[in-house]
Amino acid sequence: MPAADSLLRGALRAESVLGVETALGEVAERLARVTVQVRFGGRSAGAGVVWLRTGVVVTNAHVATGPGAEVVLPDGRVLSARVSARDPGRDLALLAVPAEDLEPALRSDARGLRAGELVVALGHPLGVAYATALGVVHRVPTGARGPAGWLHADIRLAPGNSGGPLADTAGRVVGINAMIVGGLGIAVPSHVVEAFVRAVADARHGGARAA
């Protein structure tokens, strides 16, 4: 029979685990509100993240391979989207969705992360819609090119996570999951996505094109 104090300690530990689990559920819910499914001809191709209220959804270039796609919003609406920009080098694409009332993702700069920090991924791995994964930051992006230009996470991802969010413990998106290399999840860092979205908007409004 365990002593009363060890029973008490056991109870406290369970409470701390419960707190972590509850918080994790809240992060997953927050991410689910800003994560979409990207489909072609009724088949799921990956995930996407609502970036701007005005119908701008970010996904991977390797997910948005054609001129258009179907986007399934978290509320179940199915809208046809136009692929408005692609950057295969960064594996990014923008989808223009005919909606003006979308909840955009909270974001945080991936360069402010620390190795070991918890991260949460949401996506549709192997066709399982809105599945959550928990991991840690493996390597913080520090550069512009090569491996240092990507956010590496020690997290279990699968095809179907592509284009979906990688977020911190507050549910703020720090990257767009793009590939799996040697078991590591590799994401496009949020600041790279911001720059891409801005550059596309600037080109549209100013009529200028980056050389």
């Binding site: 620390r114 070991g116 918890l118 390597r139 590496h152 413990t169 507050a170 703020r172 078991g183």
Partner: protein
């Protein structure tokens, strides 16, 4: 947006994990002693680095990248293939102050199954981390090369290329041991800090880990019940001697091929590992009594334990 600073248990856990990586990560170095990607190492004392033996593929021209990005040359102080550990000394002055300070003291007591742990590495310039749990803990065990590891620690955790030689860290930032993929197939094991300290001490003092040696090869055999009775043995098995190295301690003591070794200093031996276990470095130069079955009779053979010749690589 400062939602995360408001905390909550998930954010608090995340902060603790990142702080543990930050604290111990200062003592994690990259070791360039093989082709392809570098391996990891841990600053164990000022100027002294512990690494995984199997990642040190050359004895010279070894360089180390410290946590601040600076590079120092290092010399191999010694290696112990039996525990997959190696010790490097940094070139005079390098890393002696500030950068690469010693890792935190070893956690006391055994790690618990289910405990959260982080594996750290530096396979390049940046420190990297992965999170998992301790999946199994056991007592002392012997590696396939005969090394003694004080405690068995198996991990449920992804160990990526270049992680061998890096530390296993608890959520409080204490080093539990050194991770290596070199001691088991397809799984990550941790050499506990106590074993690392013992082996590193011997490598620094002597350049190698001395082990006792008899100079025999043996194979387990089952003893017929009649022989077991006539010799008054409790065990029904022994070790048949299949080779005696010329001029070895066993040869000088008069051991013969075909002898069946049944006890060493009164302790029954049934597995070659039992003999290895009795031949620690502290036995070198001391006399042991071997009880053997020879021609159906029991004989006592006195042998002075020698030192095992240095590993041929």
């Amino acid at each position: 947006m400062s939602a995360s600073s408001s905390g909550g248990p998930l954010a608090a856990l995340s902060d603790d994990l990142a702080a543990a990586v930050d604290t111990v990560g200062r003592s994690v170095v990259a070791i360039h002693a093989r082709r392809r990607i570098p391996a990891s190492g841990v600053v164990w004392q000022p100027g002294v680095i512990v690494a995984a033996h199997h990642t040190i593929q050359r004895d010279d021209d070894i360089t180390v990248t410290l946590h601040d990005g600076s590079t120092a040359s290092a010399t191999l102080a010694g290696r112990d293939p039996s525990t997959d550990l190696a010790v490097l000394r940094l070139a005079t002055g390098a890393g002696a102050s500030g950068p690469g300070a010693p890792a935190a003291a070893a956690a006391e007591g055994a790690p618990r199954v289910g405990q959260l742990v982080l594996a750290l590495g530096r396979p390049g310039t940046a420190v990297t981390a992965s999170l998992g749990i301790v999946s199994a803990v056991g007592g002392e065990w012997r590696t396939w090369q005969g090394g003694t590891i004080d405690r068995f620690i198996r991990l449920d955790l992804n160990v990526y290329d270049g992680f061998s030689g890096g530390p296993l860290v608890d959520a409080g930032g204490r080093v539990i041991g050194i991770n290596t993929s070199g001691l088991a197939r397809a799984t990550a094991l941790t050499v506990p800090a106590g074993t690392v300290a013992r082996v590193a001490g011997q490598l620094l003092a002597r350049g190698h880990v001395a082990r006792g040696w008899l100079g025999i090869a043996t194979q387990p055999v089952r003893l017929p019940a009649a022989l077991q009775r006539s010799l008054g043995l409790e065990a029904d098995g022994g070790l048949v001697v299949v080779n005696v190295e010329p001029d070895s301690p066993a040869d000088r003591g008069g051991l013969l091929i075909g002898d069946i070794l049944v006890a060493l200093d009164g302790q029954a031996v049934r597995d070659p590992g039992d003999v290895l276990a009795a031949l620690g470095g502290d036995r070198i130069g001391k006399a042991v009594t071997l009880k053997v079955a020879r021609g159906g009779r029991a004989e006592q053979v006195g042998v002075t334990v020698g030192e095992r010749p240095r590993a041929r690589r």
